[in-house]
């Protein structure tokens, strides 16, 4: 099959991908770049699972768009953020952390798209009201949660409330264990 070489800017990196001329951005991400975090739920723009953020040249806003109905060739020139690019060296983005801690992730399949929509909302509106959250997420279908814990997670990410679930403290291993390991090392050392 005839292929074309295209250049995409994804998660801050420039990537050359060889795709069929009619390939969608979702195909390029999932098959070409192995960024499988963007999900395919309907493949025709109805469900929002493939949502990625796109920043057009000259714009300072990251806008949520649907990768399954964006042609890969036509996505050249956009700065793209996928779910894999939302977290950084410091770990999960506040939105990702909040989704994990609020029980907003059940099956998790719609959530990469949902979290990116939430990120775009918070970029623009740091302290959103409930109707603003509902509106911003209305293009991402979730079948598990009834959306309730998702709203909670967005509010947590916005610093407006505490998450319902938390990892137990202490988060580090017990001191006894560390001492014990050192002891072992001394025993083995000649």
């Amino acid at each position: 099959m005839q292929k074309v070489a295209i250049t995409l800017v994804v998660n801050g990196e420039q990537a050359q991908v060889s795709v069929a001329p009619q390939a969608t951005l979702l195909e390029a991400l999932r098959y070409g770049l192995a960024l499988t975090g963007s999900k395919q739920g309907c493949d025709k723009g109805d469900c929002g699972a493939c949502t990625v953020l796109a920043q057009a040249e000259g714009s300072d806003e990251r806008q949520p768009i649907l990768a399954c109905i964006t042609l890969a060739q036509d996505a050249q020139g956009l700065r793209l953020t996928t779910i894999e690019g939302l977290s950084g060296p410091a770990g999960l983005d506040a939105v990702q952390r909040a989704f994990a801690e609020c029980g907003a992730l059940q099956c998790g399949f719609c959530q990469p798209g949902m979290m990116l929509s939430a990120r775009a909302l918070l970029d623009e509106t740091p302290k959103p009201t409930l109707p603003q959250i509902q509106l911003a997420l209305s293009g991402n279908l979730c079948r598990c949660t009834g959306y309730t814990k998702i709203y909670e997670a967005v509010q947590v990410a916005a610093g407006m409330r505490e998450p319902s679930s938390r990892l137990p403290v202490p988060s580090e291993r017990a001191p006894a264990e560390q001492a014990d390991q050192q002891q072992k090392v001394r025993e083995i050392a000649p």
Binding site: M1, R30, A34, T36, G37, S38, K39, Q40, G41, C42, D43, K44, D46, C47, A49, T82, I83, E84, L86, S87, L92, Q96, F99, A100, C102, G103, L105, Q106, C107, G108, F109, Q111, I133, Q134, L135, L137, S138, G139, L141, C142, R143, C144, T145, G146, Y147, T148, K149, I150, Y151, S164, S165, R166, L167, P168, P170, R173, A174, A176, E177, D180
Partner: protein
């Protein structure tokens, strides 16, 4: 395990318990797989890819009913990029989830029975090529008359959808009567008698079905599938492929939603496996959204003629339900559906007498199956509406009539099911208070209303799908010298969070940090069998199995620690990675050290297994075990609606849902199950409907045309938990994933009645239906106004 205990009153339930230890039972621990799902690294079936992998596509029937005379794949095989093809004759063995009703073929052998039935399959280098090749397959059909409704199937027994079927187009008929229904009905003070129609709806998980197969150099087959029943898929693959089960491995990767829609073996699993065996290359099939709709197994359309008779106190004297079930083209779980439609109605209220006559019919439409609340959501809707209507005739408040009929705890239902704990009254009380029912029901301004409903559901079934004496669920727990705990569980985490519960049970019993638990799940080579995520059985059965395994190991760890710390084993407290003396907390060792000491003491690696063994339950009559569960959950909902009387457009603004889950092992996850259930129930009331044209063609098989609610359509949901402490459950727990769906629909219907005085008996409650009902109401009122003798 302790037997039931007396309580002062059924609402006198223990307060919701604080977690016993950090990360243990009752703790709101984030899910163990949450971070991997949050950062996009978690792998679902379609995220798997292997070198030389082929992509296969399935050709589907454009006829609702036809004989397949010829399938010729020669041209497709010649298409560049096509590697192989598959036809029905290569997989002639029939399969089906229920051993007694196996009537499906991976690809049609001689007959297609619905539009979308699988006919042939092509494997190619990529999906585009496979799609092109499908159009090159030549199929000769001899169209047969299609039966598209229950009535057509009844009226035309001569047109048999399944030629081997003994009784025309009846998939299953069940008729059971408990007590003299007719006599009791005749002497009832108030009777509600009406016909209800429940529309078909489908699961619509956001992840479409996907399967990948690979054969290794030794000829062993591995199938990764988005299934919620790896064990049954394993069994059926073995039978259909004619391979020993020991050479087949089924793995369930992360699963993107199921709700019952992935609890049958499906064509794609057999096709990828066979094609991998034929080509020696990995093969993947990802269903399109349209194919997900045709695979269906969703909620059965039901027509229910329900009669409910109350005595003058409002007590239920008689319930009679005649049910016709539109099953679609294949059996699926249909045998069970026909039973569940009747067997699961007999709580939380005491029935004086009860009869149901339930018939599941084959029709030439995509097969129905188990959708969340399998079989019982439809009759529950009809019954709870009928109960309201009958109570209204007696002037009894809807909450009050439900309270009066409460069946109690530690009792047998009329059909012989044993109810243990029962927090229904508490549920009712909570939603009554939360919704301010007494001040608001019947008193809201025109167009606004409140409605209540209750329900009951099973926590697994007493009967495994195929008869055997082995445990329904098994867990293996292994401790490593590093302090890492590995749990091997066959159970399917389909998003409900069972893997997290397993880590919490380890934290509870062993005293480890829940983060130090690796859960290896749903891999038939590695994990003990669990029968699958259906009938709300997983938390209950897998939970008990895990508890059993962990208890054995926990004892060894405490003994080893006690010996080291020179205290009694009973004095050792294990918590979050440290084992310490309760009386002298400065005496402590790490969990890892306890593991090493215990392993040294045992002289063998530390591991233990646990299992859930099925108890004999249920009534002593044919079918008495179906619907018999080791524990029942209970739910009460109040819904608030607003109806625009001029357009029939209505909105459910809020649902308060209280659910008796026995014990919330992880309250965040339980709330999530309640909220998701309420959403899905409300969706069925609002907009979901599988509609077919006169050919049997499903209108709009897409997430655009089949509308599922967005955030803007979903009511605010207040999930309330009731903990009745089930004596037989793991730490007192019962199910929470399906029960809370049921009551949403009748609560909404009853709320619409409160808002504007109409009784809706057909789902979904489209604005068109609401408007028609409002107009009929106005007409009745006019007639009533001019004929005074009718206004008593």
């Amino acid at each position: 395990m302790s037997e039931g205990r007396p309580r002062k009153s059924p609402t006198d339930l223990p307060e919701s318990k604080a977690p016993t230890r950090p990360g243990g039972i009752g703790a709101r621990v984030p899910k163990v797989d949450a971070a991997g799902k949050a950062d996009g690294s978690g792998l679902y079936a379609d995220d798997l890819s292997f070198p030389r992998m082929l992509y296969a596509k399935i050709l589907r029937s454009p006829h609702a009913h036809a004989r397949v005379l010829k399938v010729d794949v020669a041209k497709a095989l010649n298409h560049p990029g096509v590697i192989d093809a598959l036809v029905g004759a290569e997989l002639p063995e029939r399969y089906g989830v229920i051993p007694w009703t196996q009537d499906e073929n991976a690809l049609a052998v001689d007959t297609v029975r619905f539009i979308g039935d699988a006919v042939a399959c092509v494997a190619a280098l990529d999906e585009r090529t496979a799609d092109e090749a499908l159009r090159l397959i030549e199929v000769q059909y001899e169209p047969l008359p299609a039966l598209l409704s229950v009535d057509e199937s009844r009226e035309h027994p001569e047109i048999k959808i399944h030629e081997r079927n003994k009784s025309g187009n009846i998939s299953k008929h069940v008729e059971l009567e408990f007590g003299p229904v007719d006599a009791e009905m005749a002497s009832s003070a108030a009777i509600s008698d009406a016909i209800y129609h429940y529309a078909g709806s489908t699961h619509a998980p956001i992840e479409p079905h996907c399967a990948v197969a690979r054969v290794d150099g030794d000829g062993n087959l591995t199938v990764w599938s988005s299934t919620q029943i790896p064990h049954y898929v394993h069994r059926e693959l073995s039978r259909v492929l004619g391979l020993p089960p020991a050479r087949i491995r089924v793995i369930q990767p992360l699963l993107g939603g199921a709700f019952g829609g992935k609890s049958d073996p499906f064509a794609l699993e057999f096709c990828v496996a066979k094609l991998a065996l034929k080509t020696g290359r990995p093969v993947k099939i990802l269903y399109t959204r349209e194919e997900v709709f045709y695979s269906h197994r969703g909620r059965h359309p039901m027509r229910m003629h329900v009669r409910v008779g109350l005595d003058k106190e409002g007590l239920i004297r008689a319930v009679d339900n005649k049910i016709d079930i539109d099953g679609g083209a294949y059996s699926s779980f249909g045998l069970v559906t026909a039973y569940y439609a009747g067997q699961l109605l007999t709580g939380p209220y005491r029935f004086g007498t009860y009869r149901f006559d339930s018939t599941r019919w084959f029709t030439n439409k995509p097969p129905c199956g188990p959708k969340r609340g399998h079989g019982s959501v439809q009759p529950r809707f009809a019954f709870e509406c009928a109960l309201d209507e009958a109570a209204e005739k007696l002037g009894i408040d809807p909450v009050e009539v439900r309270r009066r009929n409460f069946i109690g705890e530690e009792v047998l239902t009329i059909n012989g099911q044993r109810i243990g704990s029962n927090g229904f009254l508490k549920c009712l009380e909570l939603v009554e208070e939360a919704s301010d029912w007494r001040a608001r029901h019947g008193k809201l301004p025109a167009g606004r209303g409140l409605g209540v409903a209750g329900s009951m559901y099973i926590s697994g079934t007493a009967y495994p799908i195929y008869p055997n004496e082995m445990p329904q669920s098994g867990v293996l727990v292994k401790l490593d010298r590093s302090g890492r705990v590995a749990v091997y569980s066959g159970a399917s985490d389909i998003g409900q969070g069972v893997n997290t519960l397993l880590a919490q049970i380890c934290a509870e019993e062993l005293g480890c940090d829940p983060r130090d638990v690796t859960v290896v799940a749903a891999d038939t080579d590695l994990t003990p069998v669990d029968l699958g995520a259906y009938s709300s059985r997983v938390t209950f059965m897998c939970g008990l199995a895990a508890k059993e395994a962990c208890e054995a190991l926990g004892k060894k760890l405490r003994e080893a620690a006690a010996s080291k710390l020179a205290v009694l084993p009973g004095d050792v407290r294990a918590e979050l990675g440290t084992l310490s003396s309760s009386s002298e907390p400065h005496k402590n060792i790490s969990f890892a050290e306890a593991c090493r000491l215990a392993e040294a003491a045992a002289g063998v690696p530390l591991a233990a297994t646990g299992g859930y063994r099925t108890k004999k339950l249920g009534g002593d009559y044919r079918g008495g075990t179906i619907g018999a569960s080791p524990a029942y959950s209970f739910t009460a909902h109040v819904a608030e609606v607003e109806v625009d009387e001029e357009t029939g457009i209505w909105k459910v603004t809020k649902i308060w849902a209280a659910h008796d889950c026995g014990r919330a092992l992880n309250p965040t996850l339980v709330e999530g199950q309640i909220e998701g259930s309420v959403y899905m129930g409300a969706a069925e009331a609002q907009m979901e409907d599988m509609v077919y044209d006169r050919r049997g063609l499903l209108y709009g098989p897409s997430l655009l045309d089949y509308p599922i609610p967005t955030s803007l359509d979903t009511p605010l949901i207040d999930a309330l938990m009731v903990e009745s402490n089930e004596p037989g459950g793991p730490y007192g727990a019962k199910e929470a994933g399906e029960g809370p769906l049921h009551a949403a629909i009748p609560a909404i219907a009853n709320a619409i009645h409160d808002a504007c005085g109409i009784r809706l008996r057909e789902l979904p409650f489209t604005p068109a239906r609401v408007l028609a009902a409002l107009q009929a109401r106005d007409q009745r009122n006019q007639i009533a106004a001019v004929s005074p003798q009718r206004t008593a």
